[in-house]
């Protein structure tokens, strides 16, 4: 995977495809950002992030080295990329350690990184699941991120540590097809039970209602001409 390379498809003004010559796109290159690419932030992270990272590194059984693959600090938020195998153990430690006390799991959400940078259909890092944890005791927020490919979309469920993840993991299964091993009842939650496919994946066909007007049809949104 060659993520992290500059995007060669876009021209000088960050424009791709539309033939924009106005320069409106400015000089902001569409660089694959911290969320997308495989880079890691160097210390110091700033703020309380260093303290959290230190506390994690001091965790018994070299938990940090086993579980965290890289750390990204971007726009005042810290993201720990975690190996799926150690996710539950890490969450347990984050929740129960007296100096960390991330007792609250705010949000679990999936992201499909298909077609950003060079993430392809079969990329093993294509699907991400982001866990936003909150420490009400210390008023801190961190994000854990776990990746999976569509061929083997298995991630352990954190419902044993954070029961609130129940419905949110069901939603992520429903929308992205991530299988959370150990979830008590991983069924669809928003789509009908007999629905085929996972609608928020980027390669899910949108379809569309063929609206005919004097012979013209309106293509589905993902097949329309776009200005961007």
């Amino acid at each position: 995977m060659t993520v992290g390379q500059p995007d060669n498809d876009s021209g000088m003004f960050g424009v791709s495809g539309s033939g924009d010559t106005s320069g409106f796109g400015g000089l902001v290159r569409a660089e694959p950002g911290a969320a997308v690419v495989g880079h890691s932030t160097e210390r110091p992270y700033g703020g309380y992030f260093d303290e959290v990272a230190d506390l994690l590194q001091g965790a018994p059984g070299s938990l940090f080295d086993n579980s965290v693959t890289r750390v990204v600090v971007d726009r005042g938020e810290i993201t720990f990329f975690v190996r799926p195998k150690h996710l539950v153990a890490l969450c347990q430690h984050l929740r129960d350690d007296a100096n960390l006390r991330f007792e609250f799991c705010s949000s679990v959400s999936g992201v499909d990184y298909l077609d950003t940078g060079s993430v392809g259909v079969d990329d093993p890092d294509r699907l991400h699941v982001a866990y936003h944890l909150t420490s009400m005791t210390y008023r801190r927020r961190i994000r854990l991120e776990v990746t999976a490919g569509v061929a083997d979309p298995h991630i352990p469920s954190v419902t044993g540590v954070y029961p609130t993840a129940d419905w949110q993991e069901r939603e992520t299964w429903d929308m992205f097809g991530v299988i959370f091993d150990g979830h008590p009842a991983l069924t669809r939650i928003l789509m009908p039970d007999d629905w085929a496919g996972h609608p928020q994946r980027k390669d899910y066909p949108l379809g569309g209602v063929p609206v005919e007007y004097k012979g013209a049809t309106i293509p589905p949104p993902d097949e329309r001409r776009v200005y961007q």
């Binding site: 569409a30 911290a34 992201v111 982001a130």
Partner: protein, 444 residues
Amino acid sequence: MSTQATQTDPYAASSRETTEGRVYTVTGGDWESTFTGDIPAEERLVVNMGPQHPSTHGVLRLVLDLEGETVTKARAVIGYLHTGIEKNTEYRNWTQGTTFVTRMDYLSPLFNETAYCLGVEKLLGVEAPPRAQTIRVLLMEINRVASHWVWLATGGLELGSITAMTNGMRAREKCLDILELVTGLRLNHAFVRPGGVAQDLPEGFEERVRAWADGQEREIEGVRKLLVGQPIWQRRLKGVGYLNVEGCLALGITGPLLRAAGLAWDLRKTEPYLGYENYDFEVPTHSDGDCWSRFVVRVEEMRQSVRIVRQAVDRLEPGPVMVQDKKIAWPAQLSLGADGLGNSLEHVKHIMGQSMEALIHHFKLVTEGFRVPAGQVYTVVESPRGELGMHLVSGGGTRPHRVHVRDPSFVNLQAIAALSEGGLIADVIASIASIDPVMGGVDR
């Protein structure tokens, strides 16, 4: 009714043998005529409540296992209002996203918009000007009062207090009048935009909102007098739907439910945004963790919101309501002409007659939108129902790569089982009402 008649009745209960004994499917009718003499000694009723039940706040479906009138199991089924808003935003530009997210939790549209716009601004690295921030605070607090009025009105109606409904809806309409004055719409405003708000406040707004605040204080006091000492209201709510702080944290419950359990967790205080640290207000809490304490907390929150609105009006300073960066700010300078609201004549003159670059710029920004540097953020605001979070991911283009909404109604609804199992079926209604779920936000 004779056996003969029952057999020919097309609406009679059908029955079938299962591994758990004989199971009847009943859709209505009289108990006596449903069973023909073989009523089992032990009854386990599975009642399907909703999704069209009037006291399930929209299209929530509950599957309740009953023994007598006691609920032994409660399961919530959702998704009936799923409209794919998160997916839709991926095919629109960042500004158009406000129009979508405002429709999720339709009782707190301004919170959805503000949370979303704070996320976009964080991704862009810009901050709305002070006047826009004050306007956002002002509108959100008016919206919070309106939302709590709907909770009181619908909850009151479900528990048999028609006066709470009529008074609540009347007071809510006063809030919507103010929002309509500012945004032009009662609901689904799309008024808060990335970089600020769509337009400045109209003339005469300050007097109107001060009069509104006076009126709201009278209405809140009226409801307090009507309900607090009301014995039926007390008996329906006290000791019903209990959930303590540990339960709230495990299930991810925030907002008035968490505060009614005793934890003063309010994002306006704990992680202030839009200058909330400069406002003088209190976070009401209660220690009982039941439906009654949620009622008390919400009524006091309305009073505090009116207090914030008064302070916000006082600190409105003249100034821009949108960032000055013309690569982000919406180019249409709206003004009220003889033919209604539209692009200001000066702006039209400028782009049509004076500057081709301005025309190109207008066109590009409107059709294409602005680029947002790649990255991801998670922003939160305290909505009337708790922590409203927006997880926005940008791939660097003019459209979001992913918009995930952590809607408080969605997460709070997981408490249904904890609140109602072991209680009476009538108390399920009180418990749902005390969660105050908005299905538009739950299903998105």
